[in-house]
């Protein structure tokens, strides 16, 4: 119990202390997770929606694979990206191992299946409702993708937030491809992991509380935007 109390105290002290180290770690976490979520959605939302509405040979295999990728261990993704970006690997000459770019790549690969699988499900369900009317208007399934993306925007916003949350909470893969370098690739989650290894549990928990509060604030903001938009447009 005292440990938990100590961690709230640590969290409060962290925030009020205005530790520049803390804020650079927080802002880096937000930047990489946001970039990864946006990238994953740019690819995954249209892809998932397209698979949801279009019939094509092998469609069922694609859906099964997408769903299976949801269970891919993140550490495996981290390892694969590491091997690709390592100097000994095919993309080594890019020199992006142990940089935030590598973290964004790993996180994007982790979030992409989630975004694609979920948007596929939403699109497939919506298509039941929209299909006949849209086909009647001369809209092919492929042409329907942007229409559905726009019409399902509120459900898909949830998917984006889910993707962001998943990116922001990743530890293993980020550790492997980022190296947890102080001041360069240390993000909230890897900082927490480090403090935990050092046995400084209150500090680790304190950082965790800060992370949760930040993600909560982001979700609350997204919710408020949605409420405002609904109120305005009815």
């Amino acid at each position: 119990m005292s440990d938990i109390l100590a961690s709230f105290v640590a969290a409060a002290r962290l925030v009020t202390g205005g530790d520049p180290n803390l804020w650079s770690v927080v802002s880096l976490s937000l930047e990489v997770s946001l970039a990864a979520a946006v990238l994953a959605c740019l690819i995954g939302l249209p892809l998932g929606t397209w698979v949801g509405v279009r019939d094509f040979p092998g469609r069922r295999a694609v859906i099964v694979s997408l769903n299976a990728l949801l269970g891919l261990p993140s550490v495996v993704v981290g390892l694969i990206v590491y091997l690709m970006l390592s100097r000994a690997g095919p993309l080594g000459s890019l020199g992006i191992l142990f940089t935030p770019t590598a973290i964004v790549i790993a996180q994007t690969l982790l979030v992409l299946p989630i975004v694609a699988a979920m948007s596929r499900q939403f699109a497939e369900d919506a298509w039941q409702e929209y299909r006949e009317q849209l086909l009647s208007l001369g809209v092919t399934p492929t042409r329907a993708v942007p229409t559905l993306l726009l019409d399902l925007r509120y459900s898909l916003l949830t998917v984006v937030l889910l993707g962001f949350g998943r990116a922001a909470s990743e530890v293993g893969a980020v550790m492997i491809v980022g190296g947890n370098i102080d001041g360069v690739t240390r993000v909230m989650t890897t900082a927490i992991a480090l403090e935990t290894s050092k046995g400084d549990l209150p500090l680790a928990l304190g950082l965790g509380i800060v992370l949760i509060v930040v993600v909560l604030a982001l979700n609350a903001a997204a919710f408020a935007v949605r409420e405002w938009s609904l109120a305005r447009h009815g």
Binding site: L137, G138, V139, D151
Partner: protein, 244 residues
């Protein structure tokens, strides 16, 4: 590049839906003249027939052609029993239909405005379509179809979900659409609507087209027994034959 639409020709069309033959050996030839109403009990196959004619459903056997071609042309529109509106304003829904058919933005705006005035809903043009009443949404669906200037309009039970006032308004609008030069094919349960509106009746029973008769003759003296039982209200709700 106006593709040819007529004649719409269904030849020996059979449609299996979920292991059950919803339409059997249907033969129908539409040349674009007159107002056609498709009647029949529930499950007789009216909606399936309409969808085959419109190109929404492919036949399991037999063939459907439009002006001799198997490619479904664009100048037909359909209004369903329940209108499907996008999450946008009423007028944006109408503009959308034209945009996806290649109409330029300013022309689409103009025609949308025209169409929404024709159905008497100009005052709700900027409201979210999904926030409108069922009757209003159905009228927007009609406006959307009208704005496309189709040569043939299908309607699948267009008044079934509406209250009498809304239903009457829809009937009036469909009449105006026909008067403006669009051929109309409609399915309905509403015998009054059928009587008022139809030039010809196509009667379906258990998936078969049993007769096709000019409307006034059909209601006075139908050619088939099944039609007679139907009009007398003796056909049960599903399509089993009545016990004699």
């Amino acid at each position: 590049m106006a593709e040819r639409l007529f004649p719409v020709d269904a030849r020996d069309v059979t449609v299996r839906v979920g292991g059950h033959e919803a339409l059997r050996g249907a033969n129908l030839h539409l040349d674009g003249r007159g107002r056609i109403v498709i009647l029949g009990a529930n499950g007789a196959g009216k909606s399936v027939l309409l969808r085959v004619l419109h190109g929404l459903m492919a036949p399991t056997a037999g063939a459907i052609t439009w002006a001799g071609s198997e490619r479904r042309p664009n100048q037909q529109a359909m209004v369903f029993q329940r209108p499907v509106m996008l999450r946008r304003t009423a007028i944006a829904n109408i503009e959308y239909a034209m945009a996806v058919n290649g109409t330029g933005h300013s022309e689409a705006e103009l025609r949308a405005r025209e169409a929404i005035e024709h159905v008497g809903l100009a005052n709700v043009a900027q409201r979210q379509a999904r926030a409108l009443s069922g009757g209003e949404q159905q009228r927007i669906a009609l406006a959307r179809a009208w704005a496309l200037r189709p040569r043939l309009l299908y309607l699948d039970e267009p008044t079934a979900s509406l209250d009498p006032t809304a239903a009457a308004e829809v009937e009036r609008i469909v009449g105006r659409i026909y008067a403006a030069g669009t051929a109309v094919v409609m399915t309905t349960h509403n015998l009054g609507l059928a009587r008022r509106f139809a030039d010809e009746i196509v009667f379906l029973h258990e998936g078969r087209i049993v007769e096709r008769t000019p409307a006034d003759r059909f209601f006075r003296e139908p050619a088939s027994n099944e039609a007679r039982w139907f009009l007398q209200g003796e056909l049960p709700w599903n399509t089993a034959s009545p016990a004699i």
